[in-house]
């Protein structure tokens, strides 16, 4: 199997014929028929492969597919296999070696198609007198496809050099020859990274949060429609995965998009016609309601291994019945959730939402703010939430007013959503410190809220277990110990609240927010 491939940029005016002419000086060369194929880059929801310097691409190679697992940047090829079906998990791979090695990286996370690239390639093979291939050279023209649209972005043309094991000498000499003659430079950026950049996908973010670019003068209505349409697409991309429940992160991404939509519709209701907005908000409240229970159970099941470490050794085994209970509840709730998600109501909701967001002409009854610039509307919105957060946080010490903290967390979350969404409207060196300060408070308030919910939920679950099945005292004891641990941790976080809040609320930071957002 090839061990390393090299990727070079294609200099202007360099043609395949040029390459062929240079190579023919020393070797026999066979030109293959031009081929067009689709290449799909796969990764987990949290980009485990990319973040560990790996790229997994699967290209159509009738009747099956060709999988290439390589290092980022055109380095070593770690595996190349023909496969008959596209895998969802590492465990789906037939070949045990590939299965084991990928499992180490992927764990139980599903492989999700992340980026599709349409490739046109022209290939040259260096051959010997026995017609044995000694190395391959491909000239590729790639277009990154925008999901669920007919649009695509052209990526930089590239030359791929594929060595064959055992023919290293020829490979090295050929690379040297064509680099010299063609003045080739290694490609600046892996094609996958280029594609992600074109599509506005932030691979460093675990939630696959889209990055938005705005023209500051763009009317607020259109800009918000673009944002909301992106979230709508994320929901549609994750719907099937959420219904099939192969990986909980599908539902996470789906619900995340729902919640961001709710937040924007709430805070920017003054930009949309009220009749439209009220109906849509009801629909999204419905979506949130039908999915939230399953998501909570996913979270608790995901945290379970950590839960087990929070009780003493004598009670760890006694927590296992809770795990089984949560798994059974999850199965039940998931079956319940699936029905409305696969219903005509859902489809009608999404179809009409898509129509609203993609219509070019503005509907009647538009409020005045719809036509104002997105910069003005976003800045006003962000500043007002920030001031609300500062005002409401002023009197809270942290340790004595839990309800107020939980209320503050809702405001903080809205502020975070909006600053993340609209960050590219502002100079990076100014908005990043503001976001960093907000994140400190966010971590604290989100953790308090999570721990509070966990404490309450665990006690609820324990009551439910007792109603549904025969339980043993030691199991209940273990759950109570865990719930108590959550409460203790919650109090610790509450003690840290004031320090974190002060960082965000200090005069210097208020001045920064005012300068940035107050127009």
């Amino acid at each position: 199997m090839p061990e390393e491939q090299l990727i070079f940029s294609v200099p202007e005016n360099l043609t395949l014929q040029d390459l062929k002419t240079w190579l023919l000086e020393k070797r026999l060369v066979e030109e293959q028929e031009p081929v067009e194929f689709e290449r799909v880059f796969f990764d987990t929801f949290d980009w485990r492969l990319l973040n560990s310097g790996n790229v997994l691409e699967i290209s159509t190679q009738k009747p099956g597919y060709l999988l290439t697992w390589r290092e980022l940047g055109g380095g070593k090829i770690l595996a190349q296999s023909s496969i008959r079906q596209i895998p969802h998990f590492a465990s789906d791979f037939v070949a045990p070696g590939l299965r084991l090695r990928l499992s180490e990286l992927l764990g139980r996370r599903a492989l999700i198609p992340k980026v599709t690239v349409n490739s046109s390639t022209r290939e040259l093979r260096l051959i010997n007198s026995d017609n044995k291939t000694l190395m391959r050279i491909e000239l590729r023209q790639d277009h990154a496809v925008v999901p669920q649209s007919s649009k695509s972005f052209k990526l930089p043309d590239a030359i791929y050099l594929f060595p064959l094991r055992g023919f290293d000498n020829i490979f090295e000499k050929t690379v040297s020859l064509i680099s010299r003659k063609g003045r080739l430079q290694p490609i600046g950026e892996d094609p996958l990274v280029s594609a992600l950049g074109c599509l506005g996908i932030d691979a460093a973010s675990y939630t696959n949060a889209p990055i938005f670019h705005f023209d500051p003068k763009q009317p607020a209505y259109e800009a918000l429609c673009d944002v909301l349409n992106r979230y709508r697409r994320i929901m549609e991309e994750n719907l099937a995965g959420a219904c099939e429940d192969k990986d909980p992160e599908f539902l996470h991404d789906f619900l995340h998009a729902v919640r961001r939509t709710q937040c924007l519709l709430f805070h920017y209701s003054h930009v949309f016609p009220s009749k439209t907005i009220n109906l849509i908000r009801q629909d999204f409240d419905w979506l949130e309601k039908i999915t939230a229970a399953v998501r909570s159970l996913d979270i608790y099941l995901g945290l379970f291994d950590e839960f087990v470490t929070r009780v003493d050794a004598d009670h760890r085994v006694a927590l296992e019945p809770l795990r089984h209970f949560l798994e059974a509840e999850k199965l039940k709730e998931h079956q319940t959730m699936r029905v409305p998600l696969e219903s005509p109501r859902y489809r009608r909701t999404m179809n009409s939402w898509e129509k609203i967001l993609t219509e070019k002409t503005r509907p009647d009854g538009m409020p005045e703010d719809a036509g104002k610039s997105i910069l003005e509307i976003a800045s006003r919105g962000i500043y007002s939430i920030y001031m609300e957060l500062i005002e409401k946080g002023r009197g809270i010490t942290g340790t004595d007013n839990l309800d107020a903290l939980l209320e503050l967390q809702i405001i903080e979350k809205r502020l975070g959503y909006e600053m993340e969404t609209f960050r590219n409207l502002y100079p990076k060196q100014q908005i990043e410190p503001a976001l960093a300060a907000l994140r400190q408070l966010q971590d604290n308030l989100n953790t308090i809220q999570n721990l509070h919910l966990q404490h309450g939920s665990l006690l609820e679950y324990s009551k439910k277990m007792q109603r549904q099945e025969r339980t043993m005292p030691v199991w209940m004891e273990a759950i109570e110990l865990l719930a108590a641990d959550r409460e203790r941790e919650e109090r610790k976080m509450q003690e840290e609240f004031r320090t974190r809040y002060n960082r965000l609320a200090r005069k210097k930071m208020q001045k920064k927010f005012r300068a940035l957002f107050s127009l």
Binding site: L66, S82, G97, L98, D130, R165
Partner: protein, 255 residues
Amino acid sequence: MKIIATYNLKGGVGKTSTAVNMAYLAAKDGYRTLLWDLDPQGAASFCFRVKPKLKGGVQALRSKRRSLDNVVKATDFTGLDLIPADFSFRNFDQVFSDTKKPSKQLLKLLFPISREYDLLFIDCAPSISLASENIFYAADALLIPLIPTPFSVRTFNQLLVYFNKAPARHLKLLPFFSMYDKRRLLHRQIMVSLPKEFKGMLNTPIPYSKSVELMGIERAPVGTFAPNSNPAHAYIKLWQEVQAKLLASSGSKGR
């Protein structure tokens, strides 16, 4: 890494065709596959268009001047590599006979590459020798092609006697019928009687076919130039049987 050797004392029974086609199908199924052409005739290397030449020959492997990972060559098929034959393999016995534990040298040689591949197929020379003992020690299974003739059955029985005297408990014997001609009464008779005597026979026979002979002209596995032929389909079924018997529940463990 699982090691499967195609082996028979008799020559011309289909060892190379089996090794080449099985290795090709394994790679097609996504296994990282290596084929070692241990037959000095170099027919498997010829099929894959790789020159049957190892720099320094088997002596270089013995003296560790070369290691196996330096001599592997990629074939033109994704996921399939080859250790080419060399005429010096005929001297394997001479070269390794004075080593400590002479029947374990092959496994030692394989150590540097054992993690790189899921499967190793070995195309063996038709002999019983120190080289064969090394193969019996290293391999997980022997794929034994048998032409359904009395002489072939006799040779197979000789092999069974050998293993009765020198058992290799880890080694699965997987005989199967090769080059059968369904028009011949004798072939048909033996194909019924032998499985009754030896229960471990694989179910899939490979028919005699011009397509298999054409491998020497096309220099490629039969599935590439005659994918709809009877032997192409038969090899696929044979591979599936071998997979089920040897690979179904394993990680890439082997030896």
